[in-house]
């Protein structure tokens, strides 16, 4: 067998001596590999956004199935025991109970000089304070400040300029003329994204990048708003709350967390328990609306789902993330299938080109055999030439895919309208995509060159040299 360095030099010289043949052989593979890299990086990038930010697959929501007979609600309810049972599962890292505000409530206030009004009842969840314990910015402020429901501040005069000692964190509650701590509220990244992409521009409001930075720049008091417990903005609502129970509560937006409900507000669960008890009854104060389960990793979802199927009292909320994941898998599969078909056809084309080359180069092969090349040398030379085409095609294909992605990303930034979670790039070019692209390219080129190489190596030198 000829020395590797000499083989490499000969292979490179042979592969580059006929640009026309090289381009003809490489063209299809370049297209195929470009499609492979483009599709793979594209679906990976989109998946990252959808499944990483919008629908994290390692988080699922467990609810109690709704059942009723003859109009009577027989749905099982979830409580602290349910949470403990789920937490005991080996595939579960954490279980976060949620309690929804079960009576009408509104939110209103001013933001950047503009009046805002929104529905809070049904759109507000309570979660245990401990669930933001890992967040150093939220941990000190996101908690039930008045667990016994009693005011923590001094007496005050309501409906006048705030005369509580800590104007940023306290408000004067008209129900007892006492200074209360404002209810800390967090929102999800989805709400922030919806605000930035759908609300901010249309209402002339500023974009918010990092919430904490925004709060620091504008001041805590700019994050104040009011919650009207017992009132609603929904026309036709038939829920009647005794007007005597109506109450205005001061709230303060303290930050953004992925622990918050996707759309709506999230507050410490103690407030929701007290308010549900006060406005609806004791039962509403002990039933959880859902449990957010964080799995040890997304691969545990199947095991957890299987367990839930055997639990008649529990089920998974519609798994949009799983549906998107399935859809992305199918799309990726189809697109990569197309890329593979292109590459396979190109490999056949390479085989055809090399068969022609072997016929054209019979005399050359005969000369090489006459001066000392073994059959293995001849085979290595032809296979090496096809591998060189593979290396160049894989690199060029990857480069073209990357350039195409720059074009698409430019269009995304300058042409496409804003939408929630709009990423800077639709592509995720992981290093292994390039590596596998070049590897695949080499593999298919070598496969294409293998049979012609075998034929070349089997040529009898005398017969090859006899060619006119």
């Amino acid at each position: 067998m000829m020395p590797t360095g000499k083989l490499a030099r000969m292979v490179v010289a042979n592969a580059t001596r006929s640009p026309k043949h090289f381009v003809l052989s490489a063209f299809g593979i370049v297209i195929g590999i470009a499609a492979f890299v483009f599709f793979l990086a594209g679906t990976l990038g989109v998946s990252d956004v959808l499944l990483g930010k919008v629908f994290p697959l390692d988080q699922v929501e467990v609810i109690a199935p709704h059942t009723s007979i003859a109009g009577k609600n027989l749905s099982q309810k979830m409580n602290a025991d349910t949470v403990a049972k789920i937490k005991a599962r080996p595939e579960v890292r954490d279980a976060l109970p949620r309690m929804t505000l079960q009576f009408p409530a509104t939110g209103y206030g001013k933001f950047e000089g503009q009046a805002i009004n929104f529905e809070v009842g049904g759109f507000t969840d309570g979660i245990p304070d401990a669930h933001v314990a890992g967040d150093p910015k939220l941990e000190p402020v996101f908690k039930d400040w008045e667990p016994d429901g009693k005011a923590m501040g001094p007496a005050c005069v309501p409906n006048t300029p705030n005369n509580c000692p800590d104007k940023a964190w306290q408000y004067c509650d008209a129900s007892d003329n006492m200074c209360h701590h404002r209810v800390p509220v967090i929102i999800s990244p989805t709400v922030l994204e919806l605000y930035n992409t759908q609300v901010a521009d249309s209402h002339g409001l500023p974009h918010i990048g990092v919430m904490e930075q925004f709060i620091a720049e504008r001041g805590r008091d700019r994050m104040h708003f009011w919650m009207g417990l017992g009132s609603t903005m929904m026309a036709g609502s038939n829920v009647s709350i005794d007007a005597a129970k109506h109450r205005e509560v001061g709230a303060i937006l303290v930050g953004v967390s992925d622990k918050a409900r996707r759309v709506g507000l999230t507050i410490p669960i103690g407030y929701v328990e007290r308010w549900n008890r006060s406005f609806v009854g004791d039962k509403a104060a002990s039933e959880y609306s859902s449990i957010i389960v964080t799995l040890r990793n997304k691969d545990k979802l199947a095991t957890f789902s299987q367990w839930l199927q055997d639990e008649p009292k529990l089920k998974l909320e519609d798994q949009l993330g799983a549906s998107f994941a399935t859809a992305m898998f199918v799309i990726t599969f189809v697109l990569l299938g197309i890329a593979f078909v292109i590459v396979i056809i190109s490999a056949i084309n390479i085989a055809h080109n090399f068969f022609m080359q072997v016929t054209e180069r019979r005399r050359e092969i005969g000369v090489l055999r006459a001066i000392g090349a073994t059959r293995a040398d001849v085979m290595a030379i032809i296979v090496g030439e096809s591998a060189i085409i593979g290396v160049v095609s894989g690199t060029l294909g990857s480069l073209f895919a990357w350039l195409a992605s720059l074009g698409v990303d430019w269009a995304l930034e300058h042409v496409a309208p804003k939408f929630p979670f709009k990423p800077d790039s639709l592509f995720n070019f992981e290093w292994w995509i390039f590596a596998s692209a070049v590897g695949l390219s080499i593999l298919f080129c070598v496969l294409g060159g293998l049979l012609p190489a075998l034929r070349a190596s089997r040529l009898e030198p005398a017969a090859a040299l006899a060619q006119n």
């Binding site: 000829m2 055999r369 040398d377 005398a462």
Partner: protein
Amino acid sequence: MVSPVISLRDVTKSYGQGSARTPVLRGVSLDIAPGELVALVGQSGSGKSTLLNIVGGLDKADGGEIKVLDHDYGKTAERDLARLRNTSIGFVFQAFNLLDHLTCLGNVTLPAAFAAGGKDAPARGREALDRVGLSAYADRRPSELSGGQKQRVAIARALFGRPKLLLCDEPTGNLDSATGHEVIEFFQKINKDDGVTLVIVTHERRVSNIAQRVIAMRDGNIVEGAGTDVHTAGTGDDLGGPA
């Protein structure tokens, strides 16, 4: 006694199969001693080139015993046969068989690609070109050379490995008379100076005239005899058509 460079015993070779099977060599036996300059003559289809190819390991015999440079081809692996061609046997063909994409020096040093080492290959290549008087043409492509120059480059390539045996198949067949004469003289010189054993397939009298031995072939057999017996096998200057 010195062992022969080439020793053939009852070598047979046929082409085709079944009823189309055509015997080309019908039990050829011969010995060629080291340093001999042998002309292999005969009419077209007599089996000269086939015999040369079998001796060079470029073709396989159907039967018989072939020993070249102490290698029994029946027991020699393909890899060892390739090494033998690389290091000890040189070939010169009628059609030159130079690779057009390489320079003259590249063609001459090509055998070094299939051997380990060889850092001195360019120097040895230039030396070989110098011997055939073409050192100034080292960087030229074969397409820029005349027929005679191409054949000299081919001879330089054959001599690159300092072979003990040079097998030449109609080396002057594509050359004009004057150039052919130069090539013949060169063969004589390397045979005399370097002691290289030469077997030249030819149908030209001027080549056989310089041979120390002329082996004539007819219908796949060696016709024993030399000089006028063999020469009269052809007509005029011609000793037979291409094999």
